[in-house]
């Protein structure tokens, strides 16, 4: 493939964003201001105090968050109904663009993932792209950062199987790094340093991404039609959910996201954001401007930037490269966690990454809107602790009021229309407004659906979709307090520089195991029960108001277990609940993916593998050994890898001595680093293969004898 020509960046035409931004955020501020006045009036009626000032401050902040969310829904709805020209796909006629001679790399960074799923997703994308007739303009790269030697070997073996199946040798490539420096962003940077100059564009996919071929071609055409654009982010639809939790989240994503993203695009325009995957990037400016610096100070705030995507988008925007959401392009998919606990695990990582953005928030030269994206990301996680603080302050005030025996209402409302309202009615009004602001985007999403016959049918009809919204709302009401407690824990831990431990959960055949749920949720249950008892004793009326929050906590264990069940997800599907377009009419890519995964599910050996099975395979299997050794030899061609291999000690006498120890004493007698060195040394591995098969049994550790026996019994 020829070297990508360097494009001279033309100054992009800037859309008029100022008014949009002003109108959008003014709407949120106006709404917040009005409702906050009502709330302040309520507090004033009961007698002002320092704790009430705190409560009002928290209310203003929290209401502003939900008002901004609501405005995204409202503006998105208006744009969906009346249309807009200010979207990337409408700015130029991109479909007539030719992509002849344009080279694009599609990269799949992986880190100890489910290899079968990653490769089948890649296969589905590859075959879909093949159907467009433009396959030869694209190269696929599996960029492995896997640290588990078993995964490493499995990835190599499956890669070889995949390229043989698809006849894609020289089209689908595999590269594993020797170290994990910089995590995912370092992985992509390593790819760019090795091959970036060959490609004008590169597309980043996640391990669970699937892309439609036509969408990929459209993205390249859009890039060609808009030379000033540096990155186009698609809006991946969540698919393939099976558990009840997964299907609820999937339904919410597919139904609400179009409105929210349309609203987001309204004010962001060409200063959009990057979500780390399912996006196409112009290679040259990315390589020039987006190598991330190390942040000063210690972790969790200092060091490597964890959530690199937002920062990379900000750096591209700083250099006047447009970042757009292609929210009206279908055919971009991802998968989502299947249980509350898995979801919390992801939230933990994202929380740390987003909080770290506070370090770059004030970086010089960043665009104001980039800072706004960073702020919104941070606020998403600060909302949890602030809400908890709000509830505690509210409880404190109520307890204090009750305990001191002060009259609850001391003054009439300042607002003449509420002058004769009781305090309870006044509070109820504010509560209803808050609920309306939260629920409005959901209602608008349903109205939007009602006007679109094809979409309506894809969701199983308006009645089913409405039932789905009700069910989703009930679930999210119970789920929200758990997120509040988790986010609080994550934020506080991060602020104190402590990492929250998160061991892998025990899974039952059908979802989260009870033991695992108890381990994760016992403290939620305890908080819910203690809080509930205290409130019951304090004020029974207030207790009933708090039941949604308390119920979520107290019932967290069964909620977590039951919503993780695939059987319940299937039952809901049978009842046509939480249906999504990809379930009612699955696109060919997803049909192909599901079919291949089903074949694997039915035919793959599910018995747990022996410890160090990957190492045994790399040594004993003549083909896996040959693949592994060939890939290691190819690494030597890159001076950076060659240097790294030499630094590790590959090819040294020490590596050979470790090989001898491995044969004589077995892998358990070597440390993990020593095993990694053996696995990284081509010469030692060829020698090991020969010796393992040539040596008499008495010169081999019992482990080898067991592995050879196991090997001979396997159906190969």
């Amino acid at each position: 493939m020829a070297e990508a020509p360097i494009i001279s960046a033309t100054a992009p035409r800037r859309p008029h964003r100022g008014w949009r931004l002003f109108i959008f955020y003014s709407s949120a501020v106006l709404l917040t201001g009005l409702v906050s006045m009502l709330f302040a009036d309520l507090l004033w009626r009961t007698g002002w105090s320092a704790s009430r000032t705190m409560l009002l401050t928290l209310f203003v902040i929290l209401f502003l968050f939900i008002a901004i969310g609501c405005m995204h829904g409202v503006y998105g709805f208006a744009l969906q109904m009346f249309g807009t020209r200010q979207r990337l796909t409408r700015l130029a006629d991109y479909r007539t663009q030719t992509i002849a001679g344009i080279s694009t790399a599609i990269v799949f960074p992986v880190f100890n993932e489910n290899t079968i799923r990653v490769y089948e997703g890649l296969r589905a994308t590859y075959e879909s792209l093949k159907k467009t007739g433009e396959l030869e303009r694209f190269d696929f790269f599996i960029l492995s950062d896997s640290t588990d030697p078993d995964k490493w070997v499995e990835e190599e073996r499956c890669w070889c199987d995949l390229v043989r199946d698809l006849d894609a040798l020289g089209r689908i490539y595999y590269r594993r790094r020797l170290n994990n420096e910089g995590s995912k962003s370092g992985n992509v940077r390593d790819f760019l340093n090795a091959w970036g100059r060959r490609y004008r564009y590169f597309m980043v996919c996640d391990a669970d991404s699937v892309m439609r071929g036509e969408t990929i071609v459209d993205l390249v055409k859009l890039m060609e039609a808009h030379p000033g654009v540096g990155l186009i982010q698609t809006v991946p639809g969540v698919v393939n959910a099976e558990s009840l939790f997964g299907r609820i989240q999937q339904f919410a994503n597919r139904l609400y996201a179009p409105l929210f993203i349309a609203g987001l695009n309204y004010w962001a325009l060409d200063l959009g954001n990057y979500w780390g995957h399912n996006a196409i990037i112009r290679t040259e400016p990315f390589m020039q401007f987006c190598d991330l610096p190390q942040l000063p100070g210690r972790r969790p705030f200092g060091g490597q930037i964890l959530s690199h995507d937002f920062v990379e988008a900000a750096l591209l925007s700083r250099e006047d490269r447009g970042i757009w959401f292609a929210y009206d392009l279908d055919g971009s998919y991802e998968e989502a966690p299947q249980s509350i606990i898995e979801n919390a695990g992801r939230e933990r990582r994202w929380c740390q990454g987003n909080l770290q953005h506070s370090m770059v928030l004030f970086a010089k030269g960043l665009r104001g809107l980039s800072r706004l994206h960073l702020i919104l990301g941070i606020c998403g996680y600060l909302a949890g602790p602030l809400w908890l603080l709000f509830l505690i302050t509210f409880n404190w005030i109520h307890w204090y009021q009750k305990n001191t025996g002060l009259s609850e209402i001391t003054l009439p409302a300042f607002n003449p229309y509420l002058a004769n309202w009781s305090g309870t009615a006044h509070a109820l009004l504010i509560f209803v407004i808050c609920m309306a602001v939260i629920m409005l985007p959901k209602a608008l999403a349903l109205i939007d659906l009602a006007f679109d016959g094809a979409r309506r049918r894809a969701y199983g009809g308006l009645a089913r979709a409405s039932l789905g919204v009700v069910g989703e709302t009930v679930f999210s009401t119970l789920h929200a307090p758990l997120l509040m407690l988790w986010h609080t824990r994550f934020v506080v831990s991060n602020l104190f520089g402590v990492s929250v431990g998160w061991s892998p959960q025990k899974r039952a055949a059908d979802g989260t195991a009870w033991v695992s749920a108890i381990q994760r949720h016992w403290w939620h249950t305890l908080v819910g029960l203690i809080w509930g008892v205290l409130m019951w004793r304090l004020d029974r009326t207030l207790f009933w108001w708090f039941t949604p929050v308390l119920a979520g906590m107290a019932l967290s264990i069964p909620l977590s277990v039951f919503t993780s069940r695939r059987s319940l997800g299937a039952r809901a599907r049978k009842m046509d609940l939480f249906l999504t377009p990809e379930e009612t009419a699955p696109p060919p890519e997803l049909v192909a993916l599901r079919a291949s995964m089903k074949v694997h599910e039915l035919t793959d050996d599910t018995t747990p593998r022996r410890r160090h099975a990957g190492l045994a395979e790399a040594v004993l299997d003549p083909y896996v050994n040959a693949i592994h050794v060939s890939l290691l030899r190819e690494k030597q061609l890159n001076p950076v890898y060659a240097e790294e291999l030499a630094r590790l000690g590959a090819g040294s006498e020490a590596a050979r001595a470790l090989g001898e120890k491995l044969l004589a004493q077995g892998p358990d007698k070597l440390t993990a680093a020593e095993r990694s060195l053996v696995m990284a040394d081509a010469h030692t591995l060829v020698w090991l293969h020969q010796q393992a098969w040539l040596r008499p049994d008495e010169l081999l550790a019992p482990w080898w004898k067991a592995m050879i026996r196991e090997f001979s019994l396997r159906e190969l």
């Binding site: 020289g170 610096p293 770059v360 970086a363 001191t404 050794v629 061609l637 049994d697």
Partner: protein, 216 residues
């Protein structure tokens, strides 16, 4: 086969080529396992190949009494495979190095020997031209040619954050923090001695009262 089995196996009762039968059985299993690992799935072919290796080992056995039948068979298997790779890939077995065996095994895999060419494996030439070309023309690339470059991080002026993160390193900041702590202590003392103490005590006692009532 160039050596007859009868001449190779001659020896005392319960022995083959001067080795106990059990030893040859173990050697058979070892060689069979390796060919099984190479995915030679046809049982007849597999048995034939194993016997061929054993025959070579049995020829060596009388001259090398210190070595077990398994060792001899394994070595012969290795040699036979290398010689065959060298012949098919047209390389000299005398110069055979690690590269040849790796390349040979990879060629077997990519030419789909287990699926399409099982009967050709270890068979002396001439081989079908299609097989030879499949073996010799396969290439294995995990990536395109490197076009190396080096991304370098651009400096990012973090503004006040840089100042904040550097503050802790400055000696006078710690001193200022001590002063601030002292000032806060003074404010606390002032507050407690000007009604704050009573206020706190009254709030605490009412809280304790409430809890006492709660537990009754």
């Amino acid at each position: 086969m160039d050596v007859s089995m009868e001449s190779a196996v001659s020896g005392a009762a319960g022995q083959l080529a001067g080795r106990p039968l059990d030893e040859w059985n173990a050697a058979y299993v070892k060689v069979e396992n390796y060919f099984h690992a190479l995915r030679v799935r046809n049982k007849a072919l597999l048995g034939q190949l194993v016997l061929r290796v054993l025959e070579r080992a049995m020829r060596r056995a009388p001259a090398e009494p210190d070595r077990s039948a398994t060792q001899l068979a394994a070595e012969e298997m290795d040699r036979l495979v290398i010689e065959w790779f060298a012949a098919v890939l047209q390389e000299s077995p005398a110069n055979a190095d690690q590269m040849l065996t790796t390349r040979g095994r990879l060629a077997l895999l990519l030419a789909d020997m287990p699926g399409r060419w099982q009967e050709q494996f270890l068979r002396p030439g001439p081989w079908p031209p299609e097989f030879v070309s499949a073996m010799s023309e396969t290439y294995f690339r995990a990536g395109p040619d490197f076009q190396l470059s080096k991304m370098t991080p651009r400096s990012l002026d973090l503004g006040p954050i840089t100042t904040l993160t550097n503050l802790g390193r400055l000696p006078y900041v710690r001193m200022a923090l001590v002063w601030i702590g002292f000032a806060l202590l003074l404010i606390g003392v002032f507050w407690l001695t000007h009604g704050g103490f009573e206020q706190t005590r009254s709030r605490l006692s009412s809280l304790i009262d409430w809890f006492t009532q709660f537990y009754r």
